[in-house]
Symmetry: C2
Subunit: 192 residues, 2 copies
């Protein structure tokens, strides 16, 4: 394999072998077992796990299915904090000047932006939050804590009460608004 470790980006590939081996061992599988499961030969699996060959996406795909690992995450860097991170109520970052009559509390860490954002949004009476389209494939997951809200995504409109949940694509203009009196909602944005 041609490993010209010149660019730091390339080294991400060097993580793959160990990750695969770990995944297999964690499941207590032998090379032979995954070979049968994945259709990739024992020897190939061995070579790949030792970084002696750079697999075709086809074979890598088969391996990930057999090992039940997420193909997507396989190439990402690993840099998660170790312990419990606590964000106190008083210290939650706020966005006050978005929309009208609403304050957005940012509960997710900056590192996760784009993959996984969590917000606690509080609307005053008649509060409204208008959003421009995000990236294609992005979705929002909204649950009402208190009050009533109206969701508009593209053409469609829905009314939600306490405890209700809505999920919708946000690669289009969308609006959240308090319906009659104040409201509080919990919002998870996925793949924005």
């Amino acid at each position: 394999m041609t490993d010209n470790s010149s660019t730091p980006e390339t080294e991400v590939l060097s993580l793959l072998p160990t990750r695969l081996r770990t995944a297999r061992r964690d499941k207590g599988l032998s090379l032979d077992a995954v070979a049968k499961l994945s259709g990739v030969s024992r020897s190939m699996v061995s070579q790949i796990e030792r970084g002696e060959s750079s697999p075709t996406i086809a074979t890598l795909w088969n391996l990930t299915r057999a090992l039940q690992v997420d193909f997507a995450g396989l190439l990402e860097g690993v840099d998660e904090p170790a312990g419990i991170e606590v964000l106190r109520n008083a210290h939650v970052p706020l966005i006050a000047n978005a929309g009208q009559g609403c304050s957005i509390r940012i509960l997710s860490p900056p590192e996760e932006v784009g993959r996984h954002e969590v917000y606690d949004i509080r609307f005053k009476e008649n509060g409204i939050l208008d959003s421009a389209p995000h990236k294609r494939g992005a979705r929002e997951h909204l649950t009402v804590i208190t009050g009533n809200v109206r969701i508009k995504a593209g053409q469609q409109v829905e009314l939600l009460g306490p405890g209700d949940t809505a999920r919708y694509p946000v690669d289009q203009p969308h609006t959240i608004s308090a319906e009659a009196g104040p409201a509080q909602v919990f919002l998870v944005v996925q793949d924005a």
Copy 2:
């Protein structure tokens, strides 16, 4: 390339060529241009885009960098529902017999299991929820709506009040429990 389209999963790979070509054309780049940018030869890029060969992850990686596309998302299927999905309070699926004195309301759709799970958990006084370790890299993101809770992840323990948020890795045993009186929390599980 050996495209034995027997399993439906395999067809995900067939999406890759078009996606790459689209990405390139959208940027208005020629084969030659991406060849120079990525270090992959013109002809190879052409073959890959036409599905006539299944690239090595090494070369695919170089391509993604040149085209500035997300390697992770490149292999994901596209099957998200189009409109707003609503889940009414009364119809939220419940897990009653997990832990003691707590009921878990499942807010995320079954399709998302493993990537992105959202729960609304309600504890009675002294309620407790014990969980076995999940997959490595998994994290939980917990926000307290009402009451006080105690989080235990591995050795570490934290006490949270209303509005507080905690994030922690869950590739280890972890416990959530109501601290003094009942509590309600919002839980997002990532990459479980």
